[in-house]
Amino acid sequence: MSKILIIADIHGGKLGAAVYKTVAAAGPIGGEIHIAVFAVDGAAAAAEAAKVEGVSKVLQIDNPANEHEMAAVLTPQIVALAKDYTHVLFAGNTFGKDIAPRVAAKLDVQQVSDIMAVHSATSFDRPIYAGNAICTVEAPAAPCIVATVRLASFQAVGDSGSASVESVSISAEIPTHTRFVSLEAASSERPELQSATRVVSGGRALGSEEKFKIIYNFADKIGAGVGASRAAVDSGYCPNDMQVGQTGKIIAPDLYFAIGISGAIQHLAGIKDAGTIVAINKDEDAPIFEVADFGLVGDLFQLVPELQEKL
């Protein structure tokens, strides 16, 4: 029987949404699921965690040092808890990706990154080459399995559970070599690319930074995040962080618009898990049409404003 510990990410004292999907991945492993809440005062987040369906216990670890979820600070505390568990799971977001390998190395275990399917307590599928291949791995059970969960692969569990909350104090030496300075919150006007349910991306065919505005306008109309192909980024139409693709962001929105994007391999690698792909391109032979659910051939500068008006 497995005993699974999930490390929760906390945002402004509240439980992060990723926990619900991480618990969904833990379910098929089979066994008891506990959630650890590290915070300054984690009472509110722990109460939320107690309601996550499938969870039997919540560990609340309060410590002034836990204010900013820093890997160097959390790792010794997680390692202290890990000895009682067969699995330590993290969400595969920047929180989990930052901390999990630090924990795994301390426990001298090879981490499993981005679990997308669970075959058994020790066997998992994970994507490699930006999801262009799937690798089935078997992880040694001892001393424990440390893994991150690919959030796009799991449906969130509900919140009608009733786990017990236990306040835990951990005596671990916490380093002071890493200090929080500031957090500049992402602009809230537009949905964040990686969590947006709708994304509109523009490619080289936009032609200039000025003309790229047509993408922002359309995205804002339908409440979508905005992305770009590498070609558009390299041409200077928009900043680097908007790049969707193998070397940029890998996204899985419900609805994806590829506008003026030819569909280079490196871009397709970033969107293959999108629910529905709509492509608008003037070249009917563009490779993007091979993967698009709906394709429309024509001049984007006419079609996009028309689409914007009719949606």
Binding site: Q110, H177, D293, F294, K310
Partner: protein, 248 residues
Amino acid sequence: MKALVSVKRAVDYNVRIQVKPDGSGVVTDGVKHSMNPFDEIAMEEAVRLKEKGVVTEIIAVTVGVKKCEETLRSALAFGADRAVHVLEEGAVQPLTAAKALAAVFKKEEAKLFLCGKQAIDDDANQTGQMIASLLDLPQATFASKIVIEGEKAKVTREIDAGLETLEVDLPAVITVDLRLNEPRYLKLPDIMKAKKKAIDPQSLESLGVSAGAGLKIIKTSNPPARTKGIMVKTVDELVSALKNKGLV
């Protein structure tokens, strides 16, 4: 201060990878390889820090097969002063690579370890964090800005919640993200010069590292393929198709 930059040889990002029919992996023979793009960004940052006079020596390091020497030559052309090649013909998982790289970092008494946040082949996103863990050093992952001030570094990190800035004491491990910089194109004279720079051969044994149990790769398979959808003729047709699917 000395900076160590790890660079990984990976299948080029423009290659359409193919899974071997027997499921034993992906085809890498006869396929174009280049430096992992995130490691290029790490290399570029090290060179910029050297140009600013913050870094005095750049050492490029890799772990892997003989052919990884090409990647080290690229790093030397970028501006690394010398290189260390931890030769290993077998598959190297992140924890083993991290142990080897940590050993080199310690041996070189470097102050700064830079690497890409992940490699685009195995997409593990582990090695930098593991090096920091093994050496009990600070880590700053997904860096989009690095400012070195004396014995400290201020690193802005691209995280889901926005841009977080951490201050870390040096030595430290920093893994870099896309936004940090745009790597320069290599110039022929630099490529020629790189051929004369020294590469120090090492091995896991010489560094006192043993490859642990690691993950067993059971099989590699193709992801479910997307099928070609339908072509619509007009915006109206598109709108009604999206409405039918309940998407708008």
